[in-house]
């Protein structure tokens, strides 16, 4: 399993367009990918799941991927996040 922590720095948190981008990215991979925040985990391939978490600015999140392409998945998602969501 591959895992990485991020801090969301975008003012709007994970909303709207950033959420769509994350889900689109995650959906490109075979692995099961989850987004965890405050002890709650959702499927990162689910737009409704991701938005229901209500991740705001300053939130600490964990992304976990498990499957044949888990390393690539984490890398791909990291790129999307660093492009404007957080670090």
């Amino acid at each position: 399993m591959a895992e990485r922590n991020f801090t969301i720095t975008a003012e709007t948190g994970i909303h709207a367009r950033p959420a769509t981008q994350l889900v689109n990215k995650a959906s490109q991979f075979e692995s099961e990918i989850t987004l965890e925040h405050k002890g709650k985990a959702v499927n990162l391939k689910s737009i409704m799941g991701v938005m229901s978490l209500g991740v705001g600015q300053g939130a600490e999140v964990t992304i976990k991927a498990e499957g044949s392409d888990e390393e690539e998945a984490i890398k791909g998602i990291e790129e999307v996040i660093k492009e404007g969501l957080g670090e």
């Binding site: 003012e11 737009i47 229901s52």
Partner: protein, 571 residues
């Protein structure tokens, strides 16, 4: 016999065509055991596939007709249809509970809709509408109930519907859809906004159009005045055809003025600005060539939600408006809540006389936590454009001084933190209370500008509640009493080298415009669609004539006299 309905004119223009009813298909679903689970799943997959194909087409069409931003919503719809949490949950439900796909879809999507509707964030609430729109489409395909496709209309029609969803509106083909009329909705509902950007005449909120608008009857839609005539007489049709031709002709004339400066016949410049409620209104501001924003009503940021907007949310909105106006003046009014505008989450006590009560600046000075948050957001945004801050409902100098003091304190806090704040923000007040108009000479020494809010100034001067139909005859913008107050305010500001604007309905009124020009008003702020007509009117008047007329008007006895006089002289 013809039948007149009134509603809210959501998009200007006149349309005359046959009614086309957009019926909501019967999509009621009952809990039923599935007879063949495999067939149910197959049916569901096929419905998903067809829905996706349709949405791709709608998305492309929207992109071509309205641009990327409007098309974005359908990308979200498509993602919902690919969402494993939705799709897999439905499939599992069919398998495990042995129910039909239609029932499973309804159950699961209703749960998501309820979840998003319960969220206290405006953006999330809108997502509930998306899920509803999308699941309706899939459900119709599962049930084999054809959705009336707007794309298939091939003759000129006026759409009659309870309401239009985003995907309905996006499918409107301008070639055939000449107008639409709905039961519900207001000027800012999604369908109204889309109608304006498509320039399809429409009237919303008629309450009863779906009861009376039978398929095939002739309908006149008057989006200018918010009227709908069903089964018009031959004379009415001729009358409206003329009105339509006049309007089209006039629009062509007005369009020539979009990039022109506002000049009177003798070359005097006055500023024509627009009133806005949200950053979404900026498109209209640009299309109509406004020279600035004379009133940005910030209350909309606070309304239709369950909690106060954060400083960042406000900052984003203010910054967007300032940036997009690209250095042109933007007057932002601080929170004007109370009176007829309530915020349920503030839990304010009910008042017998809300218009005379705890509202606007009175509330903000008391709840300075709310006020200071807004001030910080404004100050932080100030470096992105030409910001002017305006306090509403100021009755005494002391209120203005307190508000200004808070603004200065917050500014210092931000500067100490190293945040850039513009040092040329003008600070002004709304003049809507007679005491302030009378004391304008004193105020003018301390404020940077005045903006006269005529809707309230008239109701307070005439002591006539503007929500009360029975005293509506007292709502008299041309009453010499009002004109004299306006004159006092303008003169007081000019004496101190300051300026005066007006941001009530009166500023865009064709009878008032010559008088206001004559009284020396510097800035006229109105709804965006009034800007070009006003610019065209001003170009035909000399300031000299207007001044003479204004002097005569304030000596008159009644509003009626003033109106007749101006109409004879200028219209």
């Amino acid at each position: 016999m013809s039948n007149l309905l009134t509603g809210i004119g959501a998009s200007a223009g006149i349309a005359i065509a046959k009614a086309f009813r957009l019926e909501n298909p019967d999509l009621t679903v009952e809990k039923k055991q599935a007879e063949d689970i495999k067939a149910e799943l197959e049916n569901f997959n096929q419905a998903l596939k067809t829905s996706k194909q349709e949405l791709e087409v709608i998305k492309e069409k929207t992109r071509e007709q309205m641009g990327d931003e409007h098309a974005e919503i359908f990308s979200a719809h498509l993602l919902v249809l690919s969402d494993p949490e939705l799709v897999d949950t439905i499939r599992n439900k069919v398998r495990e509970e042995n129910v039909t796909a239609s029932f499973a879809l309804k159950e699961v999507s209703d749960q998501f809709i309820a979840m998003f509707e319960a969220m206290d964030n405006e953006y999330m609430k809108e997502r509930a509408a998306d899920i509803r729109d999308v699941s309706k489409r899939v459900l119709a395909h599962i049930l084999g109930t054809p959705i009336v496709s707007l794309a298939e209309i091939d003759e000129e029609v006026v759409i009659v519907a309870e309401d239009l969803t985003p995907s309905d509106t996006a499918q409107l083909n301008k070639q055939f859809v000449k107008g639409f009329v709905t039961d519900i909705g207001g000027r800012t509902s999604h369908s109204a906004i889309m109608a304006r950007s498509l320039e399809i005449p429409s009237v919303v909120g008629t309450k009863t159009i779906t009861d009376e608008g039978k398929n095939g009857i002739t309908v006149i839609v008057d989006g200018l005045e918010g009227k709908v005539i069903l089964n018009p007489s031959e004379e009415e049709i001729q009358e409206y055809k003329q009105k339509q031709a006049d309007y089209e002709e006039q629009k062509r004339e007005w369009a020539k003025l979009v990039n022109e400066k506002t000049l009177t016949k003798d070359g005097q410049h006055v500023e024509l600005a627009a009133n806005i409620g949200t950053p979404d209104d900026l498109e209209g501001v640009k299309n109509n060539g406004a020279e600035g924003i004379g009133l940005y009503r910030t209350e909309f940021l606070y309304m239709g939600r369950n909690e106060l907007p954060t400083e960042d949310e406000q900052y984003d909105a203010y910054k967007k408006v300032l940036e997009q106006m690209d250095g042109k003046p933007v007057v932002i009014r601080t929170l004007d809540i109370g009176g007829d505008k309530e915020l349920p989450y503030l839990d304010l006590p009910k008042e017998l006389n809300p218009f005379l009560g705890f509202r606007a600046i009175r509330l903000c000075l008391e709840r300075d936590d709310i006020f200071r948050t807004q001030l910080r957001a404004l100050l932080r945004a100030s470096s992105y454009g030409n910001l002017k801050i305006m306090f509403p409902m100021i009755a005494t100098l002391d209120e203005f001084r307190q508000a200004k003091q808070m603004l200065e304190e917050e500014k210092q806090v931000l500067i100490d933190k190293g945040i850039t704040v513009s040092d040329s923000i003008e600070i002004g007040i709304m003049v809507e209370i007679p005491s302030t108009a009378v004391m304008a000479a004193q105020f003018a020494k301390e404020v940077d500008f005045f903006s006269i809010g005529t809707n309230d100034l008239i109701q307070y001067t005439m002591a006539a509640d503007r929500m009360n139909e029975q005293v509506s005859y007292l709502y008299q913008p041309y009453n010499p009493a009002i004109l004299r107050l306006v004159k006092m305010v303008i003169e007081a500001s000019h004496k101190e080298g300051k300026w005066t604007g007006m941001c009530g309905e009166m500023a865009g009124d064709s009878v008032a415009i010559p008088l206001l020009l004559g009284l020396g008003l510097d800035e006229f702020s109105m709804s965006a669609t009034s800007v070009l007509p006003a610019r065209s009117q001003l170009a035909a008047i000399t300031k000299e004539d207007a001044e003479a007329a204004a002097l005569e008007a304030i000596e008159m006895n009644t509003a009626e006299e003033v109106k007749n006089f101006v109409e004879k002289k200028f219209l």
